[in-house]
C-alpha cells in the first residue's frame, strides 16, 4: 500500500479524537537535531470545519480487536484497514515538522493483537524520533488501557503528553458501548501516570533535574450523548471535576457524538447538537479558570441551558450576588460577572488603582458590555438602561434563534 493511502486512511480514522493542543511543554533545543516545544502551543492550520490542526494526528493502525459501538474502527465495521511502520510515522513527522506544517505528532492506535503489543509499537516510534532523528518537538501519544504499566511509564519519558480516554461519564455507559474496555484498567493507567509525574517533579533546591515525565500533563476525552442512557451534563461535569482534582488532568475534551455506525445501542439518529459540546467547553473553562464548581453551575438541573452560556445562566439564577461594583469588588467577584474574563478582570484591577472607573471606560478595557451591563455598577452608569430583575435579564440575553444549531438537510428543504 502507498504511503499516501495509509496517511489518508489513518488520518481519517483519527479525526474524531478531539485533542489537538500542543501547549504546556517547554523544551529548549540544545543547538543540534531539530525542534523545540513552545509552552504556549501553536496552531498551524484549520480544517474546513474550523478545527485547528497543530499536530500530525494519525492512528498507528486501525486494525482493531475491540468492538465498541460508537467507534468507526471497530472490528465489525467493513472499512479500509491500514497500518504504518514505525519508520514511516517518523519520516512523515520529520518531513512535516521541518516544513512547519505541524507542531508535533499525536499518535493513537487501535488495539491490534494486544494492548501490550500496540504500546510497544508506539514506544518504538517515540524512540526513533527522540533517539535516532534527534527530534525535540512535541509528541502526544495515547496510552492503551490494559497494557503493562511498565510500558506506560516507559512511554511517559519519551513524550510530552499522554492521554487515556475515559470515553464516557458513567461506568454503565462504558460497559454498554465499549464492552472490551474496562473502567478499572483505565483508572489504573491514569493513576500510574499521575503518580510517576508527581515523583518526577523538580525539587526546589534539589540537585539537577529529574528526567521530564509527561511534561505537558495528562488529558482525556469524553463522548457526549451517545445512546439512550447517555450521561447528562451533570454527570459529565461532575466527572470532569473529579478528573481535574483527583487525577490532576491538564485537560478534559468533550466530543459531541457523531453517529458513525448503523447499529444498536447507539442509534444513528442521535446526533448531538454541537451547541451542547460548546456549552460543556464553556463550563469546563469555568471549572478551570473561574473558580466555579460543577455543583454550583448545575444547581438542581441535569442539563446546561442551551440558550445561555453557563456563566450568564449562573448569574441570572444567583442574582442576589449582583450587581457588582467594579470599583470595589474583589478579583474573584469580578471573574463571576458575565462579560468579564480573566484578562479584563485584571485590567480593571490595575486600572482602578490609578483612577476610579467610569462606566464608559469598561468597554475599552475589554469588557463585553452586551452581557456585563446587567450585572455591574460603576460611576456614571445610566439608570434607565437595563432591567434589574433576573426574569427580564433572561429574556434579554437568551438566544432567540440558536446560531450553532445544526440544520439537517431535510429540515432545510422543508
Amino acid at each position: 500500500m502507498e504511503l499516501a493511502d495509509k496517511l489518508r486512511i489513518l488520518a481519517d480514522a483519527a479525526k474524531y479524537d478531539v485533542s489537538c493542543s500542543s501547549s504546556g511543554s517547554h523544551r529548549v533545543n540544545p543547538g543540534y537535531g531539530m525542534g523545540n516545544a513552545q509552552a504556549c502551543g501553536i496552531c498551524h492550520s484549520w480544517t474546513a470545519d474550523g478545527r485547528c490542526i497543530s499536530l500530525l494526528k494519525v492512528l498507528y493502525t486501525n486494525v482493531c480487536t475491540y468492538d465498541c459501538a460508537y467507534c468507526v474502527n471497530r472490528r465489525s465495521n467493513d472499512i479500509e484497514r491500514a497500518s504504518f511502520t514505525p519508520d514511516e510515522v517518523a519520516r512523515l513527522t520529520m518531513d512535516f515538522y521541518r516544513r512547519n506544517y505541524i507542531e508535533g505528532l499525536f499518535l493513537s492506535s487501535a488495539v491490534a493483537v494486544s494492548a501490550d503489543r500496540t504500546m510497544e509499537r508506539l514506544i518504538r516510534v517515540a524512540e526513533i524520533l527522540r533517539q535516532r532523528e534527534g527530534y525535540f518537538g512535541y509528541i502526544h501519544m495515547k496510552a492503551i488501557p490494559g497494557a503493562d504499566l511498565a510500558l506506560v511509564r516507559r512511554l511517559g519519558y519519551l513524550v510530552d503528553r499522554l492521554s487515556i480516554n475515559v470515553e464516557f461519564a458513567t461506568p454503565a455507559e462504558l460497559a454498554l458501548l465499549a464492552p472490551d474496555k474496562k473502567a478499572d484498567s483505565i483508572e489504573r493507567a491514569m493513576l500510574c501516570v499521575r503518580d510517576r509525574k508527581l515523583e518526577n517533579l523538580p525539587v526546589p533546591y534539589g540537585r539537577g533535574r529529574p528526567p521530564a515525565f509527561v511534561p505537558a500533563g495528562q488529558s482525556t476525552q469524553m463522548i457526549v450523548g451517545a445512546g439512550e442512557n447517555a450521561g447528562s451534563d451533570r454527570d459529565i461535569l461532575l466527572r470532569a471535576q473529579a478528573l481535574y482534582s483527583q487525577m490532576q488532568l491538564k485537560r478534559v475534551f468533550y466530543s459531541a457524538y457523531i453517529p458513525v455506525n448503523q447499529s444498536q445501542p447507539c442509534p444513528p439518529r442521535a446526533a448531538v447538537p454541537l451547541l451542547r459540546e460548546h456549552r460543556l467547553y464553556q463550563a469546563d473553562w469555568l471549572l478551570r479558570f473561574y473558580g466555579f464548581s460543577a455543583e454550583e453551575m448545575m444547581g438542581q438541573q441535569t442539563a446546561l441551558d442551551l440558550s445561555l452560556d453557563p456563566k450568564t445562566a449562573w448569574a441570572v439564577s444567583n442574582y442576589v450576588h449582583f450587581p457588582v461594583d467594579v470599583n470595589r469588588a474583589p478579583y474573584e467577584a469580578l471573574l463571576r460577572v458575565p462579560g468579564i474574563g480573566v484578562l479584563s478582570a485584571r485590567r480593571i484591577i490595575a486600572s482602578r488603582r490609578v483612577a476610579r472607573l467610569h462606566y464608559d471606560q469598561l468597554r475599552p478595557l475589554g469588557v463585553v458590555m452586551a452581557r456585563a451591563k446587567y450585572f455591574v455598577v460603576a460611576e456614571g452608569k445610566p439608570s434607565q438602561a437595563v432591567p434589574s430583575h433576573p426574569e427580564g435579564i433572561y429574556r434579554k440575553l437568551a438566544a432567540p434563534a440558536n446560531p450553532y444549531q445544526q440544520v439537517s438537510f431535510w429540515e432545510a428543504l422543508a
Binding site: 504511503l3 499516501a4 496517511l7 489518508r8 486512511i9 488520518a11 481519517d12 479525526k15 474524531y16 529548549v28 533545543n29 543547538g31 543540534y32 537535531g33 531539530m34 525542534g35 523545540n36 513552545q38 504556549c40 501553536i42 496552531c43 498551524h44 492550520s45 484549520w46 480544517t47 474546513a48 470545519d49 474550523g50 478545527r51 485547528c52 490542526i53 497543530s54 500530525l56 494526528k57 494519525v58 512523515l92 518531513d95 512535516f96 521541518r98 516544513r99 512547519n100 506544517y101 507542531e103 457523531i258 446526533a271 454541537l274 485590567r347 490595575a350 486600572s351 488603582r353 490609578v354 483612577a355 472607573l357 467610569h358 471606560q361 475599552p364 478595557l365 445544526q406
Partner: protein, 243 residues
C-alpha cells in the same frame, strides 16, 4: 505641530525625547525620507544618544522587557502607531508607571498596536510554510500586514538550528536569513527559488492529510476563515488545489 522622522525606532524615540516640552500640542508623527521642514511640520534628526536615554528611562520605570513591547507596537501598520507611542511615553514620563493602566486614548491605541502585531506574529509562527530548495535551504514566503518578519525569525532560528532558512516578506521585498546561528535581514534578490525534487511529493502528502481531517457533518468554512484569513492562503500548500 506635526513631526517627521526617518522611520527608524531610534528616530521615533528621539521624537519622543525632543517633543516632551510640546506634549500638549502634539500633532501627527510621520515617517518621512526627506529632511525638510514643510509647512506646519518639523523634521527631527535621529539622535542615538537621546534614543538611548529614552530606552534607559523605559527600562528603569517599566522593566527591561518594556522596550520590546514598544518595538512590537512600532512594527504595527496602524495609522496612529507613531503618535500613540510618543504620547504613551510622554504620559509615562509625566504621570509615572501607573499611567500604562489609564483608560487613555493614546495608551489604548498603543496597547492595540502591540496586541495586533503580537497576534499576527504568533499567527505566522504556525502559518509560515517552508519549502525545500534544491540546495537544502528552507524557503518560506509570506505577506504579513504588520512588519513581523524580524519578530518571527528568532523562533525559527531556535527551532531549526542546523538548517539554513530564508524567510521572504513579499509585500515589503525583504528577506530574513538564518544560518549558522546568525540572523540578518537583506533586500530580496531577483532569482526565483528552485525547489528540491521531494518538495512536491511532500506537499501532496500534506494535502492528503489535510483533506482527510474534515468532518463533513461539521462543515464550517466561516470559522476556518476566522482563524486562517484569506490573505494567508496564497502561501499555504494545503489551500492549493490537489494534483
Amino acid at each position: 505641530m506635526n513631526y517627521l522622522f526617518d522611520g527608524s525606532f531610534d528616530g521615533l524615540l528621539t521624537v519622543a525625547f525632543d517633543t516632551y516640552a510640546q506634549r500638549f500640542d502634539l500633532g501627527d508623527v510621520r515617517e518621512c525620507p526627506m529632511q525638510t521642514d514643510l509647512l506646519g511640520d518639523r523634521y527631527i534628526a535621529t539622535s542615538p544618544v537621546k534614543a538611548q536615554r529614552v530606552k534607559a528611562f523605559l527600562a528603569r520605570q517599566q522593566g527591561e522587557d518594556f522596550c520590546i513591547r514598544v518595538k512590537t507596537a512600532f512594527l504595527s501598520c496602524r495609522a496612529a502607531r507613531f503618535s500613540a507611542i510618543v504620547r504613551t511615553i510622554h504620559l509615562l514620563r509625566q504621570q509615572g508607571s501607573e499611567a500604562l493602566h489609564l483608560v487613555h486614548e493614546a495608551v489604548l491605541e498603543f496597547l492595540a498596536c502591540e496586541k495586533e502585531v503580537s497576534r499576527e506574529q504568533h499567527r505566522f509562527l504556525g502559518l509560515l510554510r517552508f519549502q525545500e530548495l534544491a540546495d537544502g535551504t528552507l524557503y518560506a514566503a509570506f505577506e504579513p500586514k504588520h512588519h513581523v518578519l524580524a519578530l518571527v525569525m528568532p523562533h525559527f532560528a531556535r527551532r531549526f538550528p542546523r538548517e539554513r532558512l530564508l524567510l521572504v516578506d513579499e509585500g515589503r521585498g525583504l528577506a530574513g536569513c538564518c544560518a549558522n546561528g546568525r540572523v540578518w535581514l537583506q533586500p530580496l534578490g531577483k532569482d526565483a527559488p528552485v525547489f528540491s525534487a521531494q518538495e512536491c511529493a511532500c506537499q501532496e502528502l500534506w494535502r492528503t492529510f489535510f483533506a482527510a481531517l474534515v468532518i463533513r457533518e461539521r462543515f464550517n468554512p466561516r470559522l476556518q476563515r476566522q482563524h486562517m484569513p484569506k490573505y494567508t492562503w496564497k502561501n499555504l500548500p494545503e489551500m492549493q488545489p490537489r494534483m
